[in-house]
Structures are given as structure tokens and as C-alpha cells.
């Protein structure tokens, strides 16, 4: 049902199913992400949230269904192409490049324009602009002081923020954040959540996976809830959290057969 006055959603997840071997990680999940919103993707452990992000970026391939960006299907498009079209991912399992410093890590992302083709990359030596941008992004996430250090000796909280800075440096339209607040104390988490909200206000659409429900409820405008690979809730945060199905999934011991919201 198309409503001509409603703008097209930025991202559409349409009936996506992802399987690993015999296991169904994501089961016929559909939802939309509207331009400019800050969407929270929540659910108990093992619900498939990370897998969902991977299906969007192309790291995992859906067995069924498709993901659409600006109305165009992303099926079959390689990861780097999706990133160039405006997606950006900050992963749960942080993997910085260990041979270079934090700011050099971020600069690599900032150099997106120069690295689009090997030949162009060969002709560009200077990294001054990219390092400057890198420092700005590191500043934004609060770890500018560590810019010149190696990732090998940093705690998880710093590495998570490095991940985010790298994702930001790509200048995305849609930022996918996988548990960016993990490993941070409550003050740092609050500050970083504020930063995420700021980034969203500046025009970047954000999909946020987070277990820190306090911050999620504070900054997200809308929630999508997954449990055991299925969508069990969607909507305004308070309403979703009041939904008995959602509450059971989070607080109940055993898996409840969830009805689609």
C-alpha cells in the first residue's frame, strides 16, 4: 500500500530469513527505517540482532527476502559497494588494524574518496586532511587524547569508540551501531549516547543495537524488538516496553512462542 505523501523509508528490511547451516538465525523479519530517525534494535541475547545488521551490510547473505536502500534492492551487492552507497557499520566484535595508530585507523575510513580505485590511491600520498578529520571524529567520541596510540593496548571501551569513529569517518547516511556502549561505565555511556543522539540530530539515520536499555529508552525514537530470530514488537519505546510479549521475552526464563506484533 503506497501512500504518496509519506516519504520513502531509507531502509526496508523485507521478509529476510538468514540461516547458518541448519539453524535459522533470522526468521522472516520485516521492518523499515525512516530517514533521520534513531531506531533501536533490541532483544535478548541470541535474538539475531547482530545477524540482522550483517544481513543489511552484506556480511551475511539472506536465504530469503531482501534489503532495500532508497527503494533499490541490495541483494548481490558486495559489502564495499553498500558502504559506498551510504551504509556504515560499527561492529560488536571490534577489529582495529593493529599495526597502525588509532587516528591512522580512522583516517583510513576518512580516505574513502581517495581509495575508491587502486590507481587513484596510488597517486595520493598526503594524509594530512584525513588525519585532521580522524582527530575530529575521535574528539566526537571522546578519545582524542589517545589518537597517537596503538589499538593493541586499549581497553574494550576505547576500541568500541574507535569503531564508531571509524564508522563516522565514512560520512554515512545510515549508521549501524552494534552495542557501542558495551564496556563503558555509566558516565561514559551517557556521554556517548548523547553523542549518538547529536549525530542523529545532525542528519544521520541511526540503527542502534544496545543492551543498555536505560540509554536506549532515552535516545531512541522507535524500537524494533527481536527474539529468537523473529520480530516480536515494534513502535514507540514506552509502548513497546509495556507490551507483555516483549516483557516476557526479556524477563521470562524460557523462550515464549512469540506472536508477531
Amino acid at each position: 500500500m503506497t501512500r504518496p505523501d509519506k516519504p520513502q523509508p531509507l531502509l526496508v528490511v523485507d521478509g529476510v530469513t538468514v540461516r547458518f547451516g541448519g539453524l535459522v538465525a533470522i526468521d522472516n523479519v520485516s521492518f523499515e527505517v525512516r530517514e533521520g530517525e534513531l531506531l533501536g534494535l533490541i532483544g535478548p541475547n541470541g535474538a539475531g540482532k547482530t545477524t540482522m545488521l550483517r544481513a543489511i551490510t552484506g556480511v551475511a547473505r539472506p536465504a530469503q527476502g531482501q534489503v532495500l536502500l532508497d527503494g533499490e534492492s541490495l541483494n548481490g551487492q558486495p559489502i564495499h559497494q553498500r558502504i559506498r552507497r551510504g551504509l556504515s557499520l560499527s561492529q560488536q566484535l571490534v577489529k582495529p588494524l593493529r599495526g597502525i595508530t588509532l587516528e591512522e585507523n580512522v583516517a583510513l575510513a576518512a580516505a574513502k574518496a581517495k581509495t575508491v580505485r587502486p590507481l587513484r590511491a596510488l597517486l595520493h600520498v598526503s594524509s594530512a586532511d584525513e588525519l585532521a578529520q580522524a582527530r575530529r571524529e575521535l574528539e566526537r567520541v571522546g578519545i582524542a587524547a589517545l589518537a597517537g596510540q596503538s589499538p593493541a593496548t586499549q581497553p574494550l571501551g576505547v576500541l568500541k569508540r574507535l569503531e564508531m569513529a571509524r564508522a563516522l569517518a565514512l560520512g554515512p547516511r545510515l549508521l549501524l551501531l552494534d552495542e557501542p556502549l558495551a564496556g563503558l561505565n555509566s558516565k561514559e555511556a551517557h556521554a556517548l549516547a548523547d553523542t549518538i543522539a547529536d549525530i542523529n540530530r545532525q542528519g544521520v539515520t541511526v540503527v542502534l543495537i544496545e543492551h543498555n536499555l536505560g540509554e536506549v529508552l532515552r535516545i531512541c525514537q522507535r524500537l524494533v524488538v527481536l527474539d529468537n530470530g523473529r520480530k516480536i514488537g515494534e513502535g514507540e519505546p514506552r509502548a513497546v516496553m509495556a507490551d507483555p510479549v516483549v516483557r516476557t521475552a526479556y524477563l521470562g526464563g524460557d523462550t515464549v512462542e512469540a506472536k508477531h506484533a
Binding site: 559489502i79 558502504i83 588494524l97 591512522e104 580516505a111 565514512l170
Partner: protein, 285 residues
């Protein structure tokens, strides 16, 4: 004096060859067990052109082009296979090369091509050109490391999945590395053909491929000075250590093993530990 000149020329050619592999393996992390095939393509191209009357310098670009073209084909094929299979696929390439060349009479068959015409530069002149070419390849390697291409290569070598998420077209970069590396191997092949004035398919086989790979690893994958020194030393090892003579391969194999066992980062890692006795980061050069 002639002996030393010849030795230096051999060294220059080996260093060129090793640096070309360093581009692929060291910068981009792709293990190639068949690099000698590309040197062979360059050598055969130069030999045939020389016998057809072409001047020395004119054969160089053709050798590079043909070797690079084969490199792109192999690169494209290698992108299809899993990473673990890449090494064995490249091994297959060099066996294929030797196998095909040996059966073609037009390429000299099993006897190879002999009587390759003189380059006309004189022994010393040729050595100088070889050394210049070698220096150019080294300079190019150093330059690449300082560009964004080099930084991307480094990233790919360490963690190509992360690079994809950072918007890098990984397959394209790997192809670029292959094309460059194999073209330069072809260049070394052309010099090889003119230097020895005789080539056979067996000069460019599996053993030669793992020999050059060991030079790169011994020097320190990715390290330009390390590879230069390692290749220079190892290529003339048999000549220098006449006293070892009969045992030279034993020494060679033993050295390789010991180096990997005690300093996997090669000579470059040793040098760093020596001049900088702080705890080094593990892993990449």
C-alpha cells in the same frame, strides 16, 4: 672483474624478482607459490623478441606487459577460490607454465632457447642498467608504501574483511597488486634472459618459486630493505660459500627453518629488535 660484474648482475636480477613478489605477498598478503612463472613469461618474451631482432630496451615493456597480463588472469582466477586454496592454485600455475612450455617446440621445447643475442651494452653496461632497474623497483616499492594504495594493501594483508566494511574494493586492490607484482617479475625475467643468454622452462619452476618466496620471508615480508638484503645475500650464497659447496642447499634449508622458528618477521624483525629493544607489537611488519 668479470666475475664480480656477473655476480652483481645476478644479485640485481634476484632483488628485482624478490621485490616484485614482496608487492604481492608482503604488501597485499597473498601467498604465491608460483611467482617464477611470471618471471618465465618475461624471459621467454624477451628471448623470442631478441632472436627476432628487437633491441634490448624495447623488449622490456613487452615482457612486463605480457607477464602482467598473465598476472591479471591468474589474479582473477585466484579471486574465485578460497584463501586457503590460493597458495596451491598459484602452485598449479607454475606447474602448468613449465608443463606447457616444455611441450611447445616453438618455445624451444625441452631444450629451451639458447643463443639469445647480446644486448650490446657490454658486461659492465648491462650491470649498470640492471642495477638501475633494480633501484627503480625498490624506489617504486617504497613509494607505494607511502601512498594510500600502500596503506590499503597493509590493511588488506592484516584483515581484509574489515577493509570491506571500510568501503575498500578488496578484489580490485588484490588484482592491482598481482598486476604490478607480476609485471615487475616479467621485467626481471627479461634481464635474466639477456644475462644468461640461455633459458629453459625448468629455470622457472616450483623450486624457483619457493626460493624467491623464501627470500621475501627471510628478509621480512613487506619490508623493502629487508627483502633487498635477503635477496642479495641468498642469491649469491652458493657463490660466496664455496667452502660449504656440497652442503649449500642443506644450509639454505636450515637457515629458512631457523629463521621462521626464531624470527618469523625475518631479518627486518631482527633488525628492529636489535635497534629498538622495546617490546615489539606481535604480527605484521
Amino acid at each position: 672483474m668479470n666475475y664480480e660484474i656477473s655476480l652483481l648482475t645476478t644479485m640485481a636480477i634476484s632483488v628485482m624478482f624478490a621485490l616484485s613478489l614482496n608487492l604481492i605477498t608482503g604488501f597485499c598478503g597473498q601467498i604465491s607459490l608460483g611467482h617464477a612463472a611470471f618471471q618465465g613469461v618475461g624471459a621467454y618474451a624477451a628471448a623470442l623478441l631478441a632472436k627476432a631482432g628487437w633491441p634490448f630496451l624495447a623488449t622490456l615493456p613487452v615482457s612486463m606487459l605480457l607477464a602482467g597480463a598473465l598476472g591479471v588472469i591468474v589474479g582473477l582466477a585466484s579471486l574465485r577460490v578460497r584463501a586457503d586454496f590460493l597458495a596451491i592454485t598459484t602452485m598449479g600455475v607454475v606447474f602448468l607454465f613449465v608443463g606447457v612450455v616444455r611441450q611447445q617446440d616453438v618455445l624451444g621445447g625441452e631444450l629451451g632457447i639458447s643463443g639469445i643475442p647480446d644486448h650490446g651494452l657490454g658486461k659492465a653496461g648491462f650491470m649498470v642498467v640492471a642495477l638501475l632497474a633494480c633501484a627503480a623497483v625498490a624506489a617504486l616499492s617504497v613509494y607505494i608504501k607511502r601512498t594510500w594504495m600502500g596503506r590499503v594493501f597493509n590493511g588488506i594483508a592484516e584483515d581484509e574483511d574489515t577493509m570491506r566494511v571500510l568501503s575498500i574494493d578488496v578484489p580490485r586492490y588484490k588484482l592491482a597488486a598481482f598486476a604490478l607484482g607480476t609485471a615487475l617479475a616479467g621485467l626481471s625475467g627479461a634481464f635474466y634472459a639477456y644475462h644468461l643468454q640461455f633459458i629453459g622452462a625448468d629455470n622457472f619452476g616450483f623450486v624457483e618459486s619457493i626460493t624467491v618466496l623464501s627470500m621475501v620471508v627471510f628478509g621480512g615480508i613487506g619490508s623493502v630493505p629487508g627483502v633487498v638484503i635477503a635477496a642479495a645475500l641468498l642469491s649469491v650464497l652458493p657463490a660466496w660459500f664455496q667452502v660449504i659447496g656440497d652442503y649449500k642447499l642443506l644450509v639454505y634449508g636450515g637457515l629458512l627453518f631457523l629463521m621462521m622458528r626464531f624470527s618469523p618477521g625475518g631479518m627486518a624483525a631482527l633488525a628492529r629488535r636489535f635497534f629498538n629493544p622495546v617490546t615489539p607489537q606481535g604480527g605484521r611488519t
